[in-house]
């Protein structure tokens, strides 16, 4: 019993328990019926289907997911997680299943900031402890990605619990609390599209400074996860090669964010 592998356990209970943080549209969010929906959700359902088991979602706080030591509450995180060096202390990562462009944005009324270089000395909002923050601190280490930093320094980095907070704060007015924000392009696109109720007054700025790969994560502290990780990598490869991922990307993001493996 103690030596049975994680994969065996999942197959035995015929259920894959997936954790996801329902904070981000269109990755993972509550749809108009109040049900979970999104790219990550669809991917997770597909993974379960290919494993031949049922899927069950659990929605703990992001911190609880990234802290590791899940104690078998869930088997797998499918939550658009970037495999940074520190996270590897607690988690195991699969092959990347898609990648995400990072993106700056400013208030619609802003006329002075035209290029990324105009951001020098400005107040920029970011979500705390995300790759975006690490990038602006020039301290981002991602496996297999060569990060090129901006030549300028921001005036002040304002930390927020999640991206929604700084998007709402920037919407209050140009330069009121923030001059610009920095997050993933999909999140910004969704904010502009869904429109904070009555037209979100923000616009994107410049080209993505970097693309980050996003992976499934497993609990490193759980013994005998190797076969499960291998199986997941196989599935990711299959889904990449047979076009499933591209189809989902286009459905949810409107573009193809799937890297060549």
């Amino acid at each position: 019993m103690a030596s049975s592998s994680v994969l065996d356990e999942i197959m035995a209970k015929k259920t894959l328990v997936v954790s996801t943080d329902a904070n981000y549209a269109p990755q993972s969010f509550l749809n108009d019926k109040g049900e979970l929906e999104g790219f990550d959700i669809s991917v997770a359902k597909e993974v379960a289907k290919r494993l031949g088991v049922k899927v069950k979602f659990i929605t703990p706080d992001w911190d609880l997911i990234t802290a590791g030591k899940w104690g078998k509450r869930w088997d797998l995180s499918i939550g658009s997680m970037t495999p940074t060096a520190e996270r590897k202390n607690a988690l195991l990562f699969s092959l990347p299943y898609y990648s995400s462009p990072a993106q700056f944005a400013v208030h619609k009324n802003n006329t002075t900031i035209k290029t990324l270089n105009d951001l020098a000395g400005k107040t920029i909002g970011i979500a705390s402890e995300t790759t975006n923050e690490r990038y602006l601190q020039k301290d981002l280490k991602i496996e297999d990605v060569n990060v090129v930093y901006q030549p300028w320094e921001a005036g002040e980095l304002k930390n927020y619990p999640t991206d929604a907070n700084h998007i709402e704060d920037l919407s209050l007015g140009d330069g009121l609390r923030l001059d610009a924000i920095f997050t993933s392009r999909q999140t910004l696109a969704e904010a502009i599209r869904s429109g904070c109720g009555k037209g979100c007054p923000i616009k994107m700025l410049g080209e993505p400074p970097y693309y980050e790969p996003l992976c499934f994560a497993l609990d490193k502290s759980r013994a005998n996860s190797d076969s499960f990780l291998e199986k997941l990598n196989e599935i990711v490869k299959e889904m990449n090669e047979d076009g499933t991922l591209v189809k989902l990307s286009e459905k949810f993001y409107g573009t193809n964010l799937i890297p060549k493996l």
Binding site: A2, S19, A22, N23, Y24, A25, F29, L30, G34, I58, T59, P60, D61, L64, A67, K69, G71, K72, R73, T162, A164, N165, I167, E168, S171, A191, S194, G195, C196, G197, K198, C200
Partner: protein, 287 residues
């Protein structure tokens, strides 16, 4: 000087008194009317502020049923947690007043440690630390302990809230017990009751009267704190409101809505509390 002879007392109320009484009654009515007007004005102001904020009411109405569906969890967690808290509070209060040093030390440490640390941290400890302790114990040879100690979100939340509020309420219960006059204990002891009988039959029933109001307040506070279980992914009121708010970048609408729901729940509970207090007052001077 109007000495009256022994006999029928003057029953009539002079006209002047009548006028004064009507004045007093009139003033009371006017006061009540003004109070009502003031409340109405305040509520109008509140609604105006919401309109000034350009809140998206149709958005709020659309999501109301979905968010309200979370109140079941809110209630379940709160009711079970307050029950646990009451039990812990009574045991804790007895411990704090105990002359048994071990019992006393445990109760004192419990109160100090729990009251001294943020509830948020305690929630994490029940959820995260307990399974790790289980794992450590398993390594020491106790098989199956980890699974036992790996609590699902709802039980972990109930434990966290119950244990936390139990510590605060321990002091409430202790104060309630100590507020009963020493004469009551003496009368019971003089009848030959043991300490246990005295506590159970005489002191505690009276202390209950004193304890009920603060405990109801704690319950009302707990309803709001129960939102912390959303951290562990329980889809209660706050969780639903926050997620919908973020999804549509309309947090303000959702927060105001959930605040109003909590407020209504609190007003409702306060009403219930007042009924209970009236009922408990039956041994008092007749009204």
């Amino acid at each position: 000087m109007g000495i009256e002879v022994d006999g029928a007392p003057e029953q009539g109320i002079p006209e002047e008194a009548d006028r004064v009484l009507r004045q007093i009654e009139g003033r009371r009515k006017k006061y009540r009317r003004n109070l009502l007007i003031s409340f109405a004005v305040l509520i109008t102001l509140l609604v105006t502020a919401m309109i000034v904020l350009k809140l998206d009411f149709s958005f709020m109405m659309k999501w109301l049923p979905f968010i309200l569906a979370g109140s079941g969890y809110t209630f379940l967690v709160s009711v079970l947690a307050i029950t646990l808290a009451c039990i812990l509070a009574v045991v804790g209060a007895l411990g704090r007043m105990s002359s048994n040093p071990v019992f006393n030390a445990v109760a004192t440490s419990y109160v100090s440690l729990i009251r001294g640390t943020p509830l948020l941290v305690q929630v994490y400890m029940w959820y995260l630390a307990l399974p790790q302790i289980g794992k450590a114990l398993e390594e020491l040879g106790l098989h199956g302990v980890q699974a036992w100690l790996t609590l699902p979100a709802v039980p972990a939340g109930i434990l966290a809230l119950g244990v936390c509020y139990g510590a605060y309420m321990t002091e409430t219960v202790r104060a309630g017990i100590q507020s009963i006059k020493i004469g009551q204990t003496e009368a019971a002891m003089a009848l030959g009751m043991t300490r246990g009988q005295t506590m159970k039959r005489v002191i505690f029933p009276q202390a209950l009267r004193v304890i009920i109001p603060p405990v109801s307040n704690e319950f009302i506070a707990m309803i709001k704190d129960s939102s912390l279980v959303s951290l562990m992914g329980v889809w209660e009121l706050s969780y639903r409101a926050v997620k919908i708010g973020r999804r549509h970048f309309q947090s303000l609408e959702m927060l105001i809505m959930v605040a109003l729901i909590y407020w209504l729940m609190c007003i409702l509970l306060q009403f219930v509390q007042e009924r209970i207090e009236t009922h408990m007052a039956r041994g008092d001077r007749r009204v």
